[in-house]
Structures are given as structure tokens and as C-alpha cells.
């Protein structure tokens, strides 16, 4: 299932995430991961409702191996929240929308 969120890659990670003025939420996913499809619509909704305060992107772990490796990701879906170039939050597995919003709101 294709997501409409912008792609974050190993190549643009520094520019798009670490140097971003806004906090960034990244959804790590892969085509073979069904729970990733389950969480995708929720992440897209959050991207829409929080677009003033938050940048949201997705990273395909099949095509990008460096960044997931760097942050020790061995399970998907995983959501990482970065602010000011630092990793602030890690959420593993399918989460409810309320839960994601609660966690990211601590940093917005």
C-alpha cells in the first residue's frame, strides 16, 4: 500500500530530519509488513492534522538500511520522533492515534 507521505532516505536523512526546523516523525515500513499498512492511515492523518507543527515522512527499510541500522531498528512499524537533530521518542508496533499524539505532543 502506497503512502502519500514524503520519502526519507539514507541520502536525504541529514537534510530532511537532522537539520529540520520542525520536529520530524518518521514511519519505518516495508511492503511485506502488514501492521505497517495498518498504522499508515493513522500516521497520514496525524501528518494532516499537525502539519503546522510537525513534519512527517516515511522510510522504506528495504531500500534504506543505514538509518534503521544506526538507530537499532529491528522491528517495524517503528515511529521515531526527532527534534533539533536528536532522537526524542521511539514507538514500536501498531499504536492508536491517541497514543501517538500523546507521545509527540510532549515535543511540540
Amino acid at each position: 500500500m502506497a503512502m502519500d507521505l514524503p520519502d526519507i532516505t539514507d541520502q536525504n536523512f541529514d537534510e530532511e530530519v537532522l537539520k529540520s526546523a520542525l520536529p520530524v516523525l518518521i514511519d519505518f515500513w516495508a511492503a511485506w509488513c502488514v501492521p505497517c499498512r495498518m498504522i499508515a492511515p493513522t500516521v497520514e492523518e496525524i501528518a494532516e492534522t499537525h502539519k503546522e507543527k510537525l513534519k512527517v515522512g516515511k522510510m522504506n527499510v528495504d531500500e534504506n538500511m543505514k538509518t534503521p541500522g544506526k538507530y537499532g531498528i529491528r522491528g517495524i512499524p517503528t515511529l521515531l520522533l526527532f527534534k533539533g537533530g536528536e532522537l526524542k521518542e521511539t514507538m514500536v508496533g501498531v499504536q492508536s492515534k491517541d497514543k501517538i499524539i500523546e507521545v509527540i505532543s510532549r515535543h511540540l
Partner: protein, 309 residues
């Protein structure tokens, strides 16, 4: 919150049980509404291949199978909506099903909300989830190429995951608390004939350890009552299911496993509320059983609504 029209039947969950119930109540011209919190299909979507559903001798991808269930139900008037049910309460002669976004009024309700994986309940489990500890081999297996992994459990799901993981890993342990598997024989044969696989019988995981990610598990052999350290990159937990019943706690009777008690026609302890699939007792956790139970519940709903005019 507005409830709007009264539905003949509100079905909670769009897995195999809920979609089969939707098909049969749809054909009963009851225009069922099916509430699904994520995407239609249910837990079977976590498997990589279904080869035990009758009618598909070559097997079928779980998503393709459940999409067929959904299309067939919709063909006969079922409507699937995305909403997560929070509670159910009685209001005069209808049940008010409260979702996240609105309420749904139903003359009858079929609970087919399914279940999710049970946790080990050992220290560090939460912290190491997604960092070596996983509950879904099809999701996370590819992260463990050439790694040493273990599966905890001895049922069909545990052995299916173990066999699937041997495609990726270098060495696979199966940690099982008994001295024999509960899983069906064909899966046992496949596992035991795989040179990468080794079974640790009579064993339980006592704790798991690791700094940035999982590094080892402490295994206790419960027959000999001794512990040993097992270095691991990955640990896949498949020790059973927790039924999703939070929204009906105190409303319908629940058994000691946390499943909703039903009679032979899938009726719960509340008139007009039926349950089917993994959330109900007396249902072995199989797609074909869930489908049968969903059909049974639907026929009971059709009779129930008929009798009330």
C-alpha cells in the same frame, strides 16, 4: 455524539469471523455495518501464507483471502467502516455501540473483535521490543538475516513462524515449556527436519538482557530446574492470544482465559449480543473455525431479529 439510524446488526471486527457474519446477515437483508479499527482482515494478515483454508489447494496470500471475504460480504449489502469500539451499553431495546467518532445503534451485536499476541511478561521485554524482541515473524524476520534467533511457543503459530524464520536466520531455537508440541504434525515434521532448528524442550524464558538491543536470554529448564544463558539476536514470542474484550468488560460473561462465553449458537450472556472467532470461547484459533463461528452467529442473529419482529 449522534447515533443516527438504528441498524439491525452491528458487527465489531472485520476479520474472518466478522466478515463471514456480515455475509450471512447481509444475505438475510439485515444490512450489517462492520466496524474495524485498523484494516479488514484481522490477525491472519500477520501470517505469510495460508495453506489450511479449504478450497485453496495451492494456498493463498492472507490479504487476498480476506479481501475476498470482504468483497463477498459487501456484495450482499454489508458496509465496513473504520472505527474503534470503546463500549457497549443498553438503551431501551437497542444496544448503543460507542466508537471513537460516533455511536452506532444496533438491535443485535456480533462481537468478532479477535485477539492479539500475549507478552512473555519478563523484565526488559517492553524496552527490547523492536530491538530484538518481536511478535510478528513475517514483519521482522528479514531484519535477522544470518542471525541467531529463538521462537517461544509450541502451537501452530509458533512453529509456522519458526519455519518461516529459518529462511533468514543462521540458527533457530524453539523454546517450549513442554516435552511435546501442540502444533499440528505436518508443522512439527517440517521444523524438526530443518537442520537450522533446535528445540529446547521443557524450557521457559526467565529473563532477557541487552543494552541497545537483545543480546541474550536466560532459559530455565523446568524439569531439571537449571538455568542457562542463550546468546540471541532475536526472540519471537508466540505463546497464545489475549482476546480483545476491554469494551465489554462487566457487560458479558468472560471465561478464565479472557474469552467471551458463548452457547452453541454463539449467544453471550446478554440478549442480542453474540460473539464469534478468536474472542469467543470454544473457538480453536483457525480461520476456518472463525468463519464457521461467524456464520453460526449470523444465523442466530437472523433468528433473533425474526423472533422480535
Amino acid at each position: 455524539m449522534t447515533a443516527g439510524e438504528t441498524h439491525d446488526v452491528v458487527i465489531i471486527g472485520a476479520g474472518p469471523a466478522g466478515l463471514a457474519a456480515a455475509l450471512y446477515t447481509g444475505r438475510g437483508r439485515r444490512q450489517p455495518i462492520v466496524l474495524e479499527k485498523a484494516i479488514p482482515g484481522g490477525q491472519i494478515l500477520m501470517t505469510d501464507w495460508v495453506e489450511n483454508y479449504p478450497g485453496f489447494p495451492e494456498g493463498i496470500a492472507p490479504f487476498d483471502l480476506t479481501e475476498r471475504f470482504r468483497k463477498q460480504a459487501e456484495k450482499f449489502g454489508a458496509r465496513v467502516e473504520t472505527d474503534e469500539v470503546r463500549s457497549i451499553r443498553r438503551e431501551e431495546d437497542v444496544w448503543m455501540v460507542a466508537g471513537q467518532s460516533r455511536e452506532y445503534r444496533g438491535r443485535a451485536v456480533i462481537i468478532a473483535s479477535g485477539a492479539s499476541h500475549r507478552k512473555l511478561g519478563v523484565p526488559n521485554e517492553e524496552r527490547l521490543t523492536g530491538r530484538g524482541v518481536s511478535y510478528c515473524a513475517t514483519c521482522d524476520g528479514p531484519f535477522f538475516r544470518d542471525a541467531v534467533v529463538a521462537v517461544v511457543g509450541g502451537g501452530d503459530n509458533a512453529l509456522t513462524e519458526a519455519i518461516m524464520l529459518t529462511k533468514f536466520c543462521r540458527k533457530l531455537y524453539v523454546i517450549h515449556r513442554r516435552d511435546e508440541f501442540r502444533a499440528i504434525k505436518i508443522l512439527q515434521e517440517r521444523l524438526l527436519s530443518n537442520p537450522k532448528a533446535e528445540v529446547l524442550w521443557d524450557s521457559v524464558v526467565e529473563s532477557i538482557e541487552g543494552e541497545k538491543g537483545l543480546e541474550r536470554a536466560i532459559i530455565r529448564n523446568i524439569k531439571e530446574n537449571r538455568t542457562s544463558e542463550l546468546p540471541l539476536d532475536g526472540l519471537f514470542v508466540s505463546i497464545g492470544l489475549d482476546p480483545h474484550t476491554g469494551f465489554v468488560r462487566g457487560l458479558v460473561e468472560i471465561n478464565s482465559w479472557g474469552e467471551i462465553k458463548v452457547d452453541s449458537r454463539m449467544a453471550t450472556s446478554q440478549p442480542g449480543i453474540f460473539a464469534a472467532g478468536d474472542v469467543a470461547d470454544a473457538c480453536p484459533k483457525q480461520v476456518a473455525v472463525a468463519v464457521g463461528a461467524g456464520v453460526n452467529a449470523a444465523l442466530s442473529v437472523n433468528d433473533y431479529l425474526e423472533s422480535r419482529g
